[in-house]
Assembly symmetry: C2
Homo-oligomer: 697 residues x 2
């Protein structure tokens, strides 16, 4: 008699499985390579009609996995049955290759065996193993399936009649109806005829009760057969046979098997039922003795080359490049949470909308560091055009941007960000920020323009969470400082970050937040309100731009200063956003020793998960040194004092106009003018920030 | 009688004048606005024939200036005469506008007058004034000429005959020959006929001697006339008349004037001499009395709109944009020397040829900072391709570079630099650097490839002055460390700069130079030889790449770390290059206080003009802190010890091959293996650089 050949499972992996695995790996599994439960499904085998030869061609016995395979209580699709398995994803290709595959396979086979002999549960009969390595940088997935199946010795043979039409022996429409009636699909089932010739079915687990009064010859065991091959049954039959031989050896050396192959009742008179029945015998067989241990198992899947080896799914070519880029950028950030900083709140950073006032050297470098942190909304404001000296220092511009008079810097910078990362939400606004000491000409048109410019800046600040002051003059920082500080009391909290350059020095600072209920420490006492850019000044900002010589007009700086200051400003923002008190986080002590101690002990909530959140940092390239500073808010400050903020809130544009037009207005308003008269010494304390001269320190 | 009208000078500024002024301003004048001597020239007036009307149209009386105008002993072109003047260039447009033009003009007129009455020298009769403001960022030049000419009261009148052909009175070919025979061209000259009817000429200065026996009626005064207008003589005649009236009042109230207008002898019979003669009278004139002071002067040039006001030359549209970019980039750097650092040797930096090993985050940022310093030769080596996660962190790549599998990084980075600045000499080489612990497969092809790769790297290092180690693994730095250290003894000195990143930390260092005669301090004692990247290690570099998990494969860092480390490395190089001892400059003390003191006192030559030149800098973003370190060279170092260097120099590639293939070779060679056995403790001192974990510090 011919030996029964079984058609092995063929894995069918939907790309959604890999997408889901990618997400799981990055967000949940991280470095874990613990085994995961996974569910697959298979259905009745299908064949296609070959028009040329007129023959039916059987399709492979697909075991299908997809994104749903990771769902805990996944129900298989209609007409399919579930198979459960184990997924083991390795961290490196080397681990994947070096994995002890024999041990893994045997473990899985043992699980199947244990389920048979200990619980008689059939749900684990088609267990499978999937080992993977996901190269998330290249979207290449290495994988290998195993479908452990027990080997029968000697082999099963099929009677001379072979597989014959089951419809000649059973009323298949009744079986079909009963299978449909199950609450969950039965991959295996028992069949018997009653006295009137009707059939009834039952789950395999009820073998003893169901066949209690049925002679072995009248027993038929059915299974959902994924094989459409008329001569060879599918893989699930192997473990079904092993199950029966192990548990019911006395009655199973000859078995009538129904290969259930009808997902639908034949619809046309010409069509016929496809299910087949055959009689299988295992010759001279000693029954499988569970006490002797489980039988040998086989079942590693061959790869498309027909060899025992892993397969590769390369998803990169089929993915939308823009989406690939977005995932790649996220990946780099999420990896931080795998090992180093599980507590890092990346969304808090990436969802922060940043307004960059100035698209010069600082603005370009700041935007790049923000993109590195995954920030998705970046808006530039600048009034200039790209000039020939810009590209070598301003990393969003190139030579072509300088031609024909130069592109507008803000719009050009925004467009560059999109070229770098299409997923960014970037925009640019050409806008001249009105400044104290730069009077607005009294013509109605000039006034209307200034009013419109102020309104536009107010609106832009409203629409963002952070304002970076990255201009090249002292007085241009005044208006956004006032607006930003005023908003600090409204529902919207604006973080103002400031970076300014000298020749080989820089200042990076966060403006202190206006008093608020949030601004108390753990001890209930109010935090010291931190100062703004103008808090150390005893003169109001005024015109420093007119009458500048060339070396004062150009920012004459050591080229390394801008990237250092810009990156420091962005990292200060990142640390600030991670601090539970955010904008109101207190400044750490300024001596390095004390700060180091604070970092070690995390005393009084000074630390964010990223470390200290200083108030001001001054850097000195001639010593390669950075110095933290803390400065309190000054009640006569022309930028953030309550006097100024309230005048702005009460009078609006008319107050601002006074500040622009009248060189003395702000000093009179704040009372600085009286202080000023107290001594000529005051005159020497010129603001250093744009002077480009370290001697002023 | 009709009043004589004089045709004023028209300035003709060659663009070369502005280019020369630009160079002078940037390199020599800097912030100075002191008056400069300048030379112009004018020639005999020219006219063109209007074919439509058949008339001759006189061209303007051009006074021409160009780059030669700044030359000290400039000779005017053939057929032209010189005029000297004063150029005053202002630093700002505001100063230019606010200049006291009346005072400047009167000063110039006074100089002319003083020359007349004190020296009788005619060379200053056509003095002129040029005030300018050069907007070097936009290549716009604002300028205004004045040609002071004295006003005669009453005005000069011309006889009824007007200007008639001089050839009817004089043998002009003789005058032409005599003018040609002068050693330097005569703008003004005296003419008299001798008894035989021949003419002779003499310089104006010899009036008294030459005309000693000539009656006033027989005297004729000639001048080179820039006016081609037949009716109106050119501007130089005004001051000639004033000269004559002031010095020889008795004989000059009626004057015969020859307008010399023949640069060539008429060549064809139909052509005729162009020079004219006329008799001028100043009616009822009291002679100019020098004792009464100089007469009123006029002569500011009108602008093209016909108004008294400055002109603008906008050179930007006519300049080659690539050259514009090169000048703009240089300008930003040279401005450093105007005020802040006159001693800065920019050429020393810009002529340094830099080899960047690694075109990733560090490589991209390093190249940008180098470009900012004006470095013109930048070469990248990388073996990778641009991937989707790169552009947001690596500022030479954009989204489009990632498509179709990604461009080769080294070549793509080099092309980007050219897009930023076309004047750069950048190139990229896709090359995998062989590494210890990564054995070369024994096949002849693999061996040949490794040998070729080593040879290529050796050649590249030979062709550069500085090697930056910017890779992402410890062991890939070994080969260039050895080659670079070995070259340190050859005629070629290689500076090796190293930057490595952790999650929120970085290391930037310069490798110490091999012992040399240069490596002694001012006291004659040898400097301490500084260590290399491997000097602190007690195990040889080995395979750290295989079997890395995703977060180890990707450089998981705070995005701000790379720009800070890269800029710091470049600034360290800039400081090093400015130090008189360069590569051999000693490291400053490591405590900030001591370093600060060193900076202040410039003790023992520790300072460069840019400040300190540390050996190592370690940065910590969690504290926003930078720490200088000094490490001595280690005599068992696997990277730079003499044992290793000599083995490399003696055995060449075969020694390197042992290091690549045999994990223990370097440790045995240096004797580290014996040390290693001394204690298991050693095992814990794992190199931290690529660990991405600050806990290892």
């Amino acid at each position: 008699m011919p030996i029964v050949q079984f058609v092995p499972f063929s894995s069918l992996v939907q790309p959604t499985l890999w997408h889901k695995l990618t997400d799981l790996k990055i967000d949940v599994l991280k470095l874990s390579d613990a085994a995961l439960p996974i569910t697959a499904s298979y259905s009745i085998g299908r064949s296609v009609h070959d028009r040329e030869t007129g023959q039916e061609i059987a399709l492979p016995c697909n075991l299908s996995v997809g994104s749903e395979s990771f769902e805990h209580d996944h129900k298989p699709p209609h007409g399919s049955v579930s198979a459960t398995g184990t997924l083991k994803n390795y961290n490196t290709i080397e681990e994947f290759k070096a994995a002890d595959k024999t041990a893994l396979f045997n473990q899985e086979a043992q699980d199947v065996w244990n389920n048979i002999i200990k619980t008689r549960d059939t749900s684990q009969l088609s267990r499978f193993l999937l080992i993977t390595f996901a190269d998330l940088k290249k979207y290449k997935y290495y994988y290998w399936f195993a479908f452990p199946a027990f080997v029968s010795k000697p082999a099963w043979e099929i009677g001379e009649e072979g597989w014959r039409k089951a419809s000649e022996e059973f009323e298949l429409s009744s079986i079909h109806a009963q299978l449909r009636g199950q609450s969950s699909p039965l991959p295996y089932f028992l069949i018997k005829k009653d006295a009137s010739g009707g059939v009834s079915i039952a789950p395999l687990e009820s073998y003893e009760e169901f066949y209690a009064s049925t002679s072995p010859e009248a027993q038929t065991i059915g299974f959902v057969d994924p094989s459409a091959d008329p001569n060879n049954p599918g893989w699930p039959l192997r473990n079904l046979l092993a199950y029966l031989r192990a548990l019911y050896p006395a009655t199973t050396s000859t078995l009538r098997i129904l290969r259930w192959k009808d997902s639908e009742v034949p619809s046309t008179p010409n069509a016929s039922w496809k299910s087949q029945v055959g009689t299988l015998k295992v010759g001279d067989a000693a029954p499988i003795d569970p006490a002797l241990g489980r039988p040998t198992a086989v079942g590693w899947e061959k790869n498309p080359q027909g060899k025992l080896g892993p397969r590769v799914a390369d998803l990169a070519p089929m993915m939308d490049p823009t989406r690939l880029a977005a995932q790649a950028v996220d990946l780099n950030l999420k990896l931080m949470r795998w090992r180093i900083l599980p507590a890092l709140d990346l969304d808090k950073i990436s969802s922060t909308r940043c307004l960059l006032l100035g698209a010069g050297t600082l603005g370009c470098y700041v935007s790049r560091a923000l993109m590195g942190w995954g920030v998705r909304t970046i808006t530039f404001v600048d009034s200039g055009k790209v000039s020939f000296s810009n590209p070598v220092r301003q990393p969003l511009f190139e030579f072509a941007d300088c031609l024909d008079g130069g592109k507008p810097k803000a719009e050009c910078a925004a467009a560059s960000l999109k070229k770098i990362f299409p997923g960014i939400n970037s925009s640019g606004h050409t806008l001249a920020i009105p400044m104290p000491g730069h009077p607005i000409p009294p013509s109605p048109a000039s006034l209307a323009q200034a009013k419109a410019d102020v309104a536009k800046l107010e609106k832009l600040i409203d629409e963002h969470d952070v304002v970076f002051l990255l201009m090249d003059s002292r007085e241009s920082r005044w208006l956004p400082t006032v607006i930003g500080a005023a908003k600090g009391k409204a529902s919207l909290i604006i973080i103002v970050l400031n970076a300014a350059l000298g020749f080989d020095t820089y200042l990076v600072m966060r403006h202190g937040a206006r008093a608020s209920s949030l601004s108390t420490g753990a001890d209930g006492k109010p935090h010291q309100r931190l100062g703004c850019y103008y808090c150390n000044d005893i003169v109001a900002p005024a015109d420093s731009l007119t009458d500048r010589t060339l070396d004062q007009m150009c920012t004459v700086t050591r080229p390394g200063i801008a990237p250092i200051a810009a990156a420091t400003a962005v990292e200060l923002l990142a640390s600030l956003l991670q601090h539970p008190e955010g904008l109101y986080s207190p400044a750490p002590p300024t001596t390095t020793a004390a700060a180091g101690a604070a970092l070690d002990s995390d005393q009084e909530g000074i630390n964010s998960v990223l470390g200290l959140v200083p108030h001001q940092l001054r850097g000195f390239l001639n010593q390669f040194r950075t110095m933290p500073l803390v400065g309190a808010a000054y009640d006569r400050c022309t930028g953030c004092s309550e006097t100024v903020l309230k005048a702005y809130e009460t009078e609006g544009f008319s107050m601002l106009l006074k500040a622009f037009n009248d060189a003395k207005y702000l000093e009179t308003l704040t009372g600085l003018d009286k202080l000023f008269q107290e001594g000529e010494d005051a005159l020497n304390a010129v603001d250093w920030h744009e002077e480009g001269d370290e001697d002023d320190f």
